[in-house]
């Protein structure tokens, strides 16, 4: 295996590819972006793709490619859809439990914030309104 790959899985290859997405050579850049989005969406199980998407977004901003940004939005939506499908079917990659944890904690945080703001609005918001 090439020493630049930090592992022997497809996700490692994609991570390496991402480093090539900011290449100055146009064909390399476009091919690399296409490869990353195709492989991350269709070939990787689990939401390691979410991290890939984040890094891809950084590359897009750096390269300032508007047309690819549009594709990127579609890309993200497909990834999310894929993630939830995988989660429901219990097919999530065992190699990426941290990502699942991230999503779980994000959901938990959203619920907590929602509960906090609701209680805050009921106790403080309405209270202050009636006091006035």
């Amino acid at each position: 295996m090439p020493s630049e790959f930090k592992g022997s899985l497809l996700k490692n290859a994609i991570e390496w590819l991402l480093t090539k997405c900011s290449s100055r050579i146009e064909p390399v850049r476009s091919v690399c972006q296409q490869l990353v989005s195709n492989l991350a969406v269709w070939a990787i199980e689990g939401i390691i793709s979410h991290l890939v998407a984040q890094r891809l977004c950084i590359n897009i901003l750096w390269n300032d490619q508007a047309h690819f940004c549009i594709d990127h939005v579609i890309f993200i939506s497909i990834l999310r859809e894929k993630f939830y499908k995988i989660k429901d079917n219990k097919l999530a990659d065992a190699a990426t439990p941290t990502i699942n944890f991230q999503f779980f904690s994000f959901k938990l945080l959203t619920y907590l914030l929602l509960i906090f703001f609701r209680s805050h609005w009921i106790t403080k918001g309405c209270g202050s309104y009636f006091e006035e």
Partner: protein, 66 residues
Amino acid sequence: MDDRWLEILYYMVTSLMLSGSDEQLVGTTKQTLKALEHVERILKEKSAIFNKVNLQAQLVILILNQ
């Protein structure tokens, strides 16, 4: 064998980078892109193999390194 496909991907992308300085008539870029398309198709269709850790291959590497 699955490791080799990732290796091929690596060399194809590297050769694409190198072909940037070649003349179009030589056709290196075109051929490399064609090869990359093929590699991509294989990685997509046989993705289950490439997402699993190949313990046998890792053992061979460990033995060879020692």
